[in-house]
Symmetry: C2
Subunit: 368 residues, 2 copies
């Protein structure tokens, strides 16, 4: 597995060399993990100035949730009052003779950047931009395997919840139970805070669980995902509580389901990001729900739960094969609730069977 990280770092060094800045300092944790196998809290990675080196503020604890560090990679652990690892790394780079260093200006604060500039005034700091985030968009099969396992864990946790009694329990308790079940099935933790939304809250994107209890006749929407070896997936489902859904619930559900299916069907190498969004959005717009729809209807997933690409009306770019994305349209009607249906899929060539659905829990409207 070590080789993967060495190859990724070599690609970054090549990219830096091509742009005239031989060395780069990576500080964004997901980017550090992508290139080093792990990201101990606060660690930064110096690439291209002498040996690549991971500068850590403390000895790594070996905690598996921090990833498995590439053993080939040199590590430097700062002494207890060693200060900011990014400042120390700039100093290393300067001493290794780097006259320029590309840094992640979208991650570093102004204060840190200034401290880094002052420690080595003759090393010019330039902007690496989102170079590593761009590299992370297309996944290799090992990464997709981690996402597939994350999705299996997520489906299991959700499936167990559906077998239990729901009426009378609070959103908060259901969310905590889902997170416990994720861990029971082997997740390193939840991929993001689990959302459980009932009644008027249902269908609201990013709803934080409250003390509202599940009632007969409610819509119940859940959104959860497992983190497995750093890789994060997402599933969202909406159910009806009670023996039979009301007509408006069936209509709204069918509409969102049709929108979600339309967007899933567009997923193919070469499809424009915005066309995936549009496929779902135009169905919801045509039904008169333009104002009730979220500003984007899907996004990449991987070492972070929201990665590039964003599937939104103004997004520029096209999908590639082996890009995992969510497709998650929803409609929320204030005071009444709503529906959200969310899957994680991997874009695949049609010859390979088309989009690979990772989150396989049924999307029928279940009455629980």
């Amino acid at each position: 597995m070590s080789e993967v990280y060495a190859v990724r770092r070599a690609r970054l060094r090549d990219r830096c060399a091509a742009s005239g800045t031989a060395a780069a300092l990576v500080s964004r944790p997901a980017n550090v993990r992508y290139l080093a196998g792990g990201s101990p809290p606060g660690a930064v990675l110096l690439v291209g100035a002498g040996d690549d080196v991971l500068v850590c503020p403390r000895p790594p604890t070996g905690d598996p949730a921090e990833g498995r560090l590439d053993e080939q990679l040199r590590q430097v652990v700062l002494p207890p009052s060693g200060g900011d690892p990014a400042v120390a790394a700039v100093d290393f780079a300067a001493k290794a003779g780097a006259d320029a260093l590309a840094v992640e200006e979208h991650h570093l604060t102004v204060t840190r950047h200034r401290a880094m500039s002052s420690v080595a005034p003759r090393t010019r700091l330039s902007d690496l931009g989102h170079a590593i985030e761009q590299e992370r968009i297309v996944k290799d099969e090992d990464e997709i395997t981690c996402l597939r396992i994350a999705a299996e864990i997520t489906d299991q946790a959700l499936g167990e919840l559906l077998e239990s009694i729901l009426v009378g329990r609070t959103e908060r308790h259901l969310a905590l139970e889902l997170e416990r079940r994720l861990v029971d099935h082997g997740a390193d933790g939840p991929a993001f805070p689990t959302s459980v939304a009932t009644g008027p809250n249902a269908g609201r994107g990013g709803h934080r669980p409250s003390d509202r209890r599940v009632e007969e006749g409610d819509f119940l929407s859940v959104c959860l995902g497992a983190n497995y070896r750093g890789y994060r997936c997402e599933i969202g489902r909406t159910f009806v509580i009670g023996t039979a859904p009301a007509d408006w619930q069936i209509e709204l559900y069918d509409l969102v389901f049709a929108a979600q299916r339309a967007a899933r069907q567009t997923l193919a190498p070469g499809a424009a990001y915005r066309d995936v969004d549009r496929a779902a959005r135009q169905i919801l717009d045509a039904a008169g729900y333009s104002d009730a729809v979220a500003p984007f209807l899907g996004h990449g997933v991987g070492l972070e739960i929201e990665e590039d690409p964003q599937l939104a009306p103004s997004a520029m770019g096209k999908l590639d094969a082996c890009v995992p994305v969510t497709v998650e349209p929803g409609v929320h009607l204030p005071g009444r609730g709503g529906v959200r249906i969310d899957d994680t899929l991997v874009v695949r060539q049609e010859a390979d069977g088309g989009p690979e659905l990772l989150t396989i829990t049924t999307k029928e409207l279940l009455a629980l």
Copy 2:
């Protein structure tokens, strides 16, 4: 309660006026919450350029975990593709005639800061520094009440755990159960990720729960805290599993307990931060554990779990009354485990009874 926020903002305006920069833009979430009563995700607060205004990327959801926004405060919600609220706020400030704006350079990334500079080239951006963090160090009685309730919730959650069977359960499960109990007792959530450490892991600061199971003869150390209305406390305790602790366990426990007590006894208005640290550290050093001790032995708590002041050997400054801090020395012996004892206390005048202990769970060495 609204008045409190208006008074805090007035104090910030006065401070800005005194330094020649009439307006400030606050982006760090805990600082926004301190001044606005709440901090919807991504919201920034503009103070001193016309009416104070909270610029939100989305309509606030009313989620109580985001706080209760000051109703007197003007709110502007950006349209769905409205971009970065901080950039929009700089634009507002410029249009309100501000020629200078103090911003939080320790929170803003270089990329955001640059976007803010370009939107209003005639508005000079200066550094607000940690001005609001400094204001937040001394708490009012309403804030201390929130911390006191947070501590009560925490003591309850821990107390219930101690009544249950522990042997054979994993660190992860115990941590999840503690977090569920915090929420059961009214917490908005955990104040920070709950740490449960058994056997060789015990006593390690910030240990992340693993799949190790509790065994007879183990040290078991836990560190947890509730978040109540945004205010976060912390408790750490170490127990022995089984009928009777071994001699080395009793000795180590008594030593850490003596160190913790010594540091607690120094807590008084006017005491130097470093002297609190030293009181505990010299006891551990004298017993030969210099290398096994953390670089700081306590810190402030409030809207964030680690706030100023830091109680560390190199810290400059003195305690005031009404400053809540943790006192949390520990010793970890690689391969054997260790002890950590952690309380949250409020510094009080001796005439007011001396330091107020918020986390009242017993510090006797319990054999469970």
